[in-house]
Amino acid sequence: MRRPGLKTVRVAVAMFFGTGLTAAFVDFRGAVPAQIGHWLASVQLVPSAVALVMGESLAVLVAIFAATLLAGRIYCSTVCPLGILQDVAARLAGWFRRAPLRLPYRPARNWVRIAFFWVSVTGIAYGFAGLTLSLVDPYSIFGRMAADLFRPIVAFVNNAIVGVIRGLGGEGLYRVDLHWASAGALALPAIILLLVVGLAAWRGRLYCNTFCPVGTLLGFISKRSAWQLSLDPALCRKCGDCLRVCKAQCIDLRAGKIDQSRCVSCYNCIGACEEHGIHHRWSWRRQPSRPAGTADLVADPQRRSFLAGATMAITGSVAAVQLRAGSIGSEVGNADGSVPSASLGRNESPAISPPGSVSVDQFLDRCTGCHLCISACPTQVLQPAFLEYGFAGFLKPRLDFSTAFCNYDCRRCAEACPDTAITLLPLLEKQTTRIGVAHLDLEHCIVKTKGTDCAACSEHCPTKAVDTVPYGNNLRLPQVSRESCIGCGACEYACPAKPRKAIVVVGQRRHSHASRRLEEKAVDPRKGKDFPF
């Protein structure tokens, strides 16, 4: 059966996910609703697997595996943004090539695939789940490129355009702040972008079929998929037209076979074959009629290692996360989850995780570092960490109060997060979630050092945890009430003291609850309703 429409469908779905995710990641004006990015990211394999471990819905993961079992690696060619990026890169590279690229069949380098897969599994199983997943998840790898590299470039182009057409009145067009992440955090996405794009231009989906553990896992399943592409020995002239369009180098004309584990179901070959010799067929019911002794039916050592690996990966990460969750739970003092102020020292964290992430440890376990929250954050206070959290927090988002501060009424990071790493708290709860505590050092405060009014900290404080008290000759001196401080960083950002800020927020390892002081309606300071002058 010939299905010329398959490629069209593949391209359409890929364009949907590719443009949708790219738009969500490069959106520098907050124009794309956070929910759109969240939805497109939630159907990615690794985020949905992380969410599953946290007790979220099983449906997405089951759907991906079921789809792979039915139709091969359609995920890799339609849903995975890194796969789509490689197809785009390969196509662009084709425009610059004189002779069309013709990739011959190459036998699979299975030992490399297995090695990368096992390294990932070992990392996940032995306590580095968050770090490992963030380094190998293709969706997160794409996200970091898009959020940290593409987004600033698009913003730069926007600003250049605004500069040219400013005279038109500027309605709807404006310059935006350009924030590049720190060099340490940018290096890896930049290197991987060059690697992935370079490999794609050179050898198509070599990355997916060599390094990507998701590709390896789905490749294992797709070996037994129901619908498969196959060569018709009666029609194939071995002309090699299909090789010109195959990005996976998986068509073995000599043996008349297609390596199903590497085929990403792009369906390019169907249309390329003038003899109509490539079929997309249901393979399952024909199996019993196959002659005994075919390779497929012999016990496959690879398959066993895979099954073992996959099982270990899932059980290991569940165990690791639950173990850690348990140990954290026992640490906290109060029944309501709040930390008594005496234990603040013990609870300090060198980097600050976003509100809704519950604790730094839980955040680092669950976050795959896709940086969708960084793209969604309207203030840009979320920045990728280099080693601020320590090694395990490499490239995980942190609040950087030198850039901005966390907007009191905003929850866009949580709305975007596909991993359950940042949970969407009710607004009132977000506004009383303490991610850090402000520490005021009056010896550096301008009111004391210069003897003039300032209070920029108190001015910006949304909870008035930083207020002022009368001081000296008609001055106002800041003071902090820790009970109502949520650690949003507005005070630290606003503090103009140099070279050292007089007020800094110290992060909390495990977030706690700040008290919200409700005040009665203010009274009119005038005597009577008439003008007091």
């Binding site: 309207p378 009014d453 920029a456 008035k464 140099k498 409700l518 005040e519 009119d524 005038r526 003008f531």
Partner: protein
């Protein structure tokens, strides 16, 4: 794709705009900038209460000779409200959008060539513009809403009259517009005691940190030696009387349904201070402004016109 006609039209508009906008005014602006507009012998303060915001603006302007006394046909107008915080109108953290919209409409009715609205916000600017309601109100009324967080729109100018603030990056709208209308909201302020007309002009400057580092009160007064607003209209409809300037909730505001209008920024702030139950002489920037002869804080020297619209 656009048609060729559209392309040509937009190219022409672009060319015209480039040839007109920032450079044409530079000479004129810089020549007059250092001279503060002279305060008439006796300041006039119009205080209106107990009307809708729009009705109170109309009453105040009528008393001062109409909007036409301030905005001439063909002039460019900059309206500078307080759009500091990501808070809805009822919180009183920003100038009320109704007031902004009404003033913009009046300027355009008076024949203004263009009316622009901006502020250098404290909270994230797009959210603040949107949630304050001012972006929509100003745009609906026909104003250009301009980014206050774009440093390329600011120009370094020297402020020879300043004691502490001797030069600053100032928004080009404030430097180049023919008319500057100051539209603050009256609020308690934990750093300066209160904020109204004089302090609202801090939002015309890029680097607010400099003010805080170098005697906040003096710097606030210094800016007025660069350019005084042609008119100050203080929104005291429901002033925030505590927890300012950001406020915590609607419980922080008290309904006073008042509008204070004057050319004299010091006099209008002195009256505003009294609305909050404060002694103007205890607010340092008002005292400094009076000493620098930017206006008068002695309300007995001011002609106060009181209106009640009940």
């Amino acid at each position: 794709m656009n048609s060729r006609r559209e392309f040509l039209r937009s190219s022409l508009a672009l060319g015209a705009a480039l040839s007109l906008s920032p450079w044409r005014k530079v000479d004129a602006a810089e020549a007059t900038l250092s001279i503060p507009s002279t305060i008439p012998a006796r300041s006039v303060l119009v205080a209106v209460r107990d009307g809708s915001r729009s009705a109170m603006v109309d009453q105040a302007l009528e008393s001062l000779g109409g909007i036409g006394a301030f905005v001439k046909p063909g002039q460019t107008v900059c309206v500078k409200p307080n759009i500091g915080w990501d808070a809805p109108p009822e919180r009183g953290a920003n100038t009320h959008p109704e007031l902004v919209g009404r003033v913009v409409r009046l300027c355009l009715e008076a024949g203004a060539k263009s009316v622009s609205v901006f502020d250098n916000t404290c909270d994230q600017w797009q959210l603040t513009y949107e949630h304050s309601g001012i972006e929509k109100a100003a745009r609906d009324a026909g104003a250009h809403v301009v980014n206050g967080k774009d440093v390329s729109l600011y120009r370094e100018v020297s402020i020879p009259g300043g004691v502490k603030l001797k030069s600053a990056l100032v928004h080009s709208l404030v430097l180049d517009s023919d008319v500057l209308l100051n539209l603050p909201v009256l609020k308690h302020h934990s750093g300066t005691g209160m904020t109204a007309a004089m302090k609202n002009l801090m939002g015309a400057v890029w680097d607010r940190g400099f003010y805080h580092q170098n005697n906040l009160h003096q710097a606030i007064a210094d800016f007025l030696t660069l350019r005084q607003p042609d008119l100050n209209l203080i929104d005291a409809y429901h002033p925030m009387v505590r927890n300012g300037p950001r406020g915590k909730s609607v419980a922080d505001v008290v309904e006073m349904r008042t509008l204070l209008v004057s050319v004299d920024p010091v006099a209008v702030d002195a009256a505003a201070a009294k609305m909050l139950g404060l002694d103007p002489a205890k607010i340092d920037y008002i005292k400094i402004g009076d000493a620098m002869k930017l206006g008068t804080m002695d309300l007995s020297q001011v002609e106060v016109r009181r209106f009640s619209l009940t």
